[in-house]
């Protein structure tokens, strides 16, 4: 009956999952790869409502506030006589936390008090944009990997290699302006792509775990760069520091309107669009997504899983390599040094996770984290709050967004997933009920309920068909009604 449509699929799914892991079938069991749960995690991140994201940011800010307050000497001093003069304590608290967050905001978005020219007013925002460029590039790179089921932690190494090759082209070749820039961009892409190709081909040929290989290659890249910087070819003439000569002026990004925004940001947006087209509109992207969803199914459909892995890692490596250009071709020094990649590669993991591996999300997440970074420097210089707190904020945000139930538990929110599911199934049921006879529904509902379901809930359930056609029923009742069957199905 109607109920079978809503409940049977869940049961059937459960039955198959039980069958695959049943002890009696060792063959299926040993061959079946354990489901990559982070795929489920990403799916869950994708389904998160904007409210959860917002609340995650709120919790992160609260955690940050606690840290700021705890490290503030004024707060510490006033906490000693908290009960004697609570006002002092809260005053100090507000001063330290408010001051820090205010300067964070002023450094990231806009600064009303700075001056009256438009350029100064939007200066923080342009800073944010320029800080976000490497994060967007690297975040896009990692996002592609995530969607192919590859956990590429190697953006750091790919950025380093991209920077190395790009810088080499930038200061040894002397080409005419536009051409030189294009050559440098290509070099950055190729450098990163080579470093992405290695884990990709190893994964494709030998099944080597890409997490380990990329982590190892990160370190290899750093040492390789530090070795190269000892060579005369890479050493800035007359310098005893491991720093390369500056990239030629002809290879630098043009700036727009004299602001911090340069061509890099435009290229990042173009890259985001290209990634969107690749993943959503191209055959290769379809293959990549298919491999990410289920590589067994993709193989059965005749797609080459190894080829997809290699392509993903090459493209991801290239994009990560391009992330280096925002430092090299537009930063303040334009010189290759050991710290050229900063921590962009690791920050990009959080960017890609927050952006749900989608281009638009990644751009927004990159802007958010770029803003945190831009604001963080201002906060550090004006209030003395170390920028490291940004790392705490970032990680708390990503952790909470990956675990919506925790956010809901903190704020005592109902479970939107469950309610949505129940509502659609109920509506469907109700519609069919209206078409057929109501009595059968009461029976089938009772039959579909697990044996352990509480009798009183059955009463609720059997009452509802009468009033149901006008109203799908309050969500809370529905939750309690279907909750037992949900738990039963899972256990």
């Amino acid at each position: 009956m109607s109920d079978t449509t809503s409940i049977t699929p869940r049961r059937a799914k459960d039955a198959t999952s039980a069958a695959t892991s049943a002890p009696g079938s060792p063959d299926t069991n040993s061959d079946a790869k354990p489901p990559r749960s982070w795929k489920a995690t990403l799916a869950r991140i994708t389904n998160t409502t904007w409210l959860t994201s917002l609340l995650a940011v709120v919790v992160a800010l609260v955690v940050g506030a606690i840290l700021i307050a705890a490290a503030d000497s004024g707060v510490q001093a006033s906490a000693k006589y908290l009960f004697a003069r609570p006002g002092d304590f809260f005053g100090a608290l507000g001063h330290s936390v408010g001051g820090a967050y205010a300067s964070l905001f002023q450094g990231a978005v806009f600064n009303i008090s700075s001056s009256y020219t438009v350029a100064d007013f939007v200066h923080p925002l342009t800073n944010t944009v320029s800080y976000s460029v490497p994060l967007i590039f690297a975040g896009l790179a990692l996002g592609i990997g995530f969607r192919a089921g590859l956990f590429n932690i190697g953006a750091q190494g790919q950025i380093v290699m991209g920077a190395t090759l790009s810088a080499f082209v930038g200061f040894t070749w002397h080409l005419p302006p536009g051409l030189h820039l294009i050559a440098c961009l290509l070099a950055a892409f190729i450098g990163g792509a080579i470093w992405g190709f290695v884990p990709g081909i190893l994964k494709a040929l030998t099944g080597a775990n890409e997490v380990i290989v990329t982590i190892m290659l990160n370190s290899v890249a750093v040492y390789l760069l530090s070795y190269l910087l000892t060579l005369p070819a890479f050493r800035s003439p007359g310098s005893f520091m491991p720093i390369s000569p500056a990239v030629d002026a002809s290879a630098r990004f043009p700036h727009f309107f004299g602001s911090a925004i340069d061509l890099g940001f435009v290229l990042a947006l173009v890259a985001a669009f290209a990634v969107w087209w690749l993943m959503e509109r191209s055959t290769l992207g379809f293959r990549i997504r298919a491999v990410g969803e289920s590589n067994d199914a993709a193989r059965t459909a005749g797609m080459s899983v190894p080829a997809a892995y290699v392509w993903v890692m090459v493209i991801a490596g290239g994009l990560a390599g391009l992330a280096s250009t925002s430092q090299l071709l537009s930063g303040s020094s334009q010189q290759l040094n050991g710290d050229i990649a900063s921590t962009f590669g690791f920050d990009a993991i959080t960017v890609a996770l927050l952006g749900r591996s989608k281009p638009v999300g990644t751009v927004l997440a990159g802007l958010l984290f770029g803003g945190l970074r831009a604001g963080g420097y201002i906060m550090q210089s004006s209030t003395g709050t170390p920028i490291d707190i940004i790392l705490v904020l970032q990680s708390v945000i990503v952790l909470l967004i990956a675990a919506p139930p925790l956010v809901r538990a903190i704020f005592r929110l109902p479970d939107p997933d469950k309610r949505a599911k129940v509502k659609t199934s109920r509506r469907h049921e109700v519609a069919t009920v209206a078409a057929t006879q109501p009595i059968a529904t009461v029976e089938s509902t009772a039959a579909a309920q697990p044996v352990g379901a509480v009798a009183s809930e059955e009463v609720v359930e059997s009452d509802s068909p009468g009033e149901a056609p006008t109203d799908a029923g309050p969500g809370d009742t529905d939750d309690t009604v279907l909750a037992p069957s949900e738990t039963e199905a899972q256990s």
């Binding site: 002890p23 354990p34 749960s37 982070w38 070795y227 490291d388 705490v392 899972q490």
Partner: protein
Amino acid sequence: MSATLTLDREHVGLAPRSWKMPIILSILTLAAIIFTATTPADMSSGVALAWSARLGTTRLTLPTLLTIGILTLAQVGVTVWSWAVAISRKKLASWWVIIFGTAFVLVFLLWAVAGKENPLQFTSLLSGALFLSVPLIFGAMAGCVCEHVGVINVSIEGQLLAGAFLAAVVGALTHNAWIGLLAAPVAGALIGCLLALFAVKYWVDHIIVGVVLNVLVTGFTNYLFSTVLAHNKEVFSVAVRLPKWSIPGLSEIPILGPVLFAQNALVYIMYVAVIILQIMLFKSRWGLRMRACGEHPRAADTVGIKVNRTRVLNTILGGAIAGLGGAFFTLANGLAFGKEMSAGRGYIALAAMILGGWKPKGALVAALLFGFADNLQNALGVVGVAVPSQFMLMAPYLVTVFAVAGLVGKVRAPAQEGTAYKG
């Protein structure tokens, strides 16, 4: 893929031939032959062996070409044998690999120090290698515990860092390294708690939680370092150090004594931890239960093991072990806390655990290998060898890449690691 292989095996009755090992050994042998061929006949390599505190030090002067020639011949022999073994569809016994590896390392060392004024300090090379591998070994043990129970622990890095931080802070506050040593596992266990909370309770992907927790701990400790610790230097920059203990009797064994039994307490704790874990994981009820949770949680649940409870408790235990290893950076080195002290060792520990085939024994060997490579550049630097230190530092990472791509095909991770059990 594996399905067809099993079928073939049933029908034909033969194991597939694997050429990985002989190919790798051949490449390394070729390298050794190149080393030998490029050595002038009249060179000699100086090696200093510190037998023990009582017996003193001997300086050996070995004719380079003859010595490495013999060692290279031994490698050629093992390589030929590995081809023969591979043709007959068998697996090369691991002690052949150990002989080969030792010979290769010796060839490289003797070649590198040939013709140098200062001898290679062999004993201190080994003892330093053991010392440097301490955090890797603790981290790898933590990884073993967590992975066998079904939780992938990428946050070893964060646990090491947290352990280093709390150990240093508590040690400085109490002026007592031992109390600091007690605090280290507490910090690691806290990170383990967070990992368990998100991975087991909220089913977040384990690798994601691990990576993010590492960022969190880095940010947290950096922040406290630049605020609380920096503002109260007189309180917190006190460095306390675990004393070095020479075990009477054992430390008199030539070579091995000074290497193994003249270390600090953390190293002895490490010996005990590795032995206990190796036995308990595979011989005890606790080990069986936790492995059941990692291999087949539903079956474990069916026989009455509380899967998620077991996972949470053992993840916390793993965190505590890694946290204890973190004490290495501060207490064992006699340093105050510094920003990002663990410097990626947690990731290396993870690689060591995988290289070691998810077994404490194997992880120990792999971690020692990393420690050795780490210390090699110190030792060779003292001798004044021309090989750039960056390549020496790079070596363990490259070895890991090769190993993960080539050698680790055989060993198997716990079947259900990284999956949530929705019991």
